[in-house]
């Protein structure tokens, strides 16, 4: 979402500037040289199209709904594009250390997969929560306990600023051991 914001924000900005410029140009043209109006923006034809419409007209409602949907997307884009950095405890006051959720998941996933009884595993991590899903050929409950321990050990080695919650789920799959 951050990338999308990075791409779309300058476009929105450009759009605002163009709309502003259009308003100024047309207003000044209409004022100073009415004969030359409209200069660039064909606003009289727009006006003719809107004339006769009431607030109840279907097209007014349709346009409003479209604008609302676009607006909702833009609003969500602005709200959702936050940083997802995982902060580590500061070694010294003027140093801030971060890592990415992906990197944290990779570190945890590496330790989980190195467990002998784990056939496959997927890890999703954020600053608040780490979710581990693993598959094993053995009884799930025992593997789950040892996996939990292993993840806790990994987190002990990583001095995270706040300890994320850990959720481990293990399923037993069929297969030859």
């Amino acid at each position: 979402m951050r990338l999308l914001l990075r791409v779309l924000a300058p476009l929105f900005a450009l759009l605002l500037a163009v709309v502003g410029l259009g308003i100024v140009v047309e207003t000044v043209t209409l004022w100073v040289a009415p004969a030359a109006s409209p200069l660039v923006v064909p606003w009289p034809s727009w006006r003719a199209a809107v004339e006769g419409l009431t607030w109840q007209s279907g097209s007014v409602r349709a346009v409003a709904i479209v604008v609302g949907v676009v607006g909702l997307f833009v609003l969500l884009l602005g709200l959702v594009a936050r940083r997802h950095d995982v902060y580590l405890a500061d070694p010294v006051p003027e140093v801030t250390v971060t890592t990415s959720p992906r990197s944290l998941a990779r570190a945890v996933g590496h330790d989980v997969r190195s467990h002998d009884d784990v056939v496959s595993a997927s890890v999703v991590a954020s600053a608040k929560k780490i979710t581990v899903k693993a598959a094993t050929l053995d009884p799930a409950e025992e593997v789950r306990a040892s996996l939990r321990e292993r993840v806790d050990e990994t987190l002990l080695r990583l001095p995270l600023a706040r300890r994320p919650r850990v959720a481990v789920s293990v399923t037993t799959t069929k297969g030859v051991k």
Binding site: R2, L5, R6, L8, A9, P10, A13, L14, L16, A17, V19, G20, I23, V24, V25, T27, V28, W31, R47, V50, E51, G52, L53, T54, W55, Q56, S57, R61, A64, I65, V67, G68, G71, L72, V74, L75, L76, L77, G78, L79, A81, R83, D85, L88, P91, P93, E94, V95, T96, V97, T98, T99, S100, S103, R106, A107, H110, R157, L158, P159
Partner: protein, 201 residues
């Protein structure tokens, strides 16, 4: 945690986010208001009035000059906000040179590339670091370091920190003659099994 080191973590998207959110709010508000009027929430007669309201048209007719100035004002504000936003948003993040001395006659400036290269070379000698990327952010008077370290699998983060602060950053601080240099470190954990081979220079 100092504010300056925290701000050096990544380029801020705050301005983009605030303006985008505002734009979204305006669009949503306009749409909702239109729909409310349309469905007669503000009275059934209001809903039956034309969109280009005769009352508004007659007000504009009697206050032509005021309308023009309002339109020009709105246009100028939109234009200025839009252009400022475009410029801010597209401008690359500055890479400041570091001003060691501003005294007339003995002005001393260290180029960004020199600082970044020196710190990068130092950082890449740390045990367990396979790759380092270094740049300065902020202003020439108040620079901050941004370091991205790629760690080899199984490296103890605490050892890396000790080395980084005790050797790399200590040297940088010494070079800049400052007691504290705000630094943001980004770690890529377990990225590779072995250090990448040295690049051909």
């Amino acid at each position: 945690m100092s504010r300056r080191s925290r701000r050096a973590v990544a380029r801020s998207a705050g301005r983009d986010r605030v303006l985008t959110t505002l734009l979204g709010l305006v669009l949503v508000a306009a749409a909702v208001l239109t729909l409310l009027v349309s469905y007669g929430v503000f009275g059934t007669f209001r809903a039956q009035r034309p969109v280009i309201d005769p009352l508004l048209v007659s007000w504009i007719g009697t206050h032509a000059t005021a309308t023009r100035w309002i339109a020009i004002g709105v246009g100028v504000v939109l234009f200025v906000v839009g252009i400022a936003w475009v410029v801010r948003s597209l401008r690359p993040e500055p890479r400041p040179d570091v001003a060691l001395s501003e005294l007339p006659g003995e002005r001393l400036v260290v180029e960004h590339a020199a600082v970044a290269d020196a710190v990068r070379h130092d950082a890449e000698t740390i045990d367990g670091v396979s790759r380092a990327r270094v740049r300065l952010v902020g202003t020439p008077q108040k620079p901050a370091l941004r370091i991205a370290l790629t760690l080899v699998e199984g490296t103890d983060v605490r050892d890396v920190w000790a080395d980084l602060d005790g050797r790399v950053l200590a040297r940088a601080r010494e070079a800049f003659a400052v007691s504290a240099l705000p630094t943001a470190v980004r770690l890529e954990l377990d990225a590779s099994a072995a250090p990448t081979p040295a690049r051909v220079e």
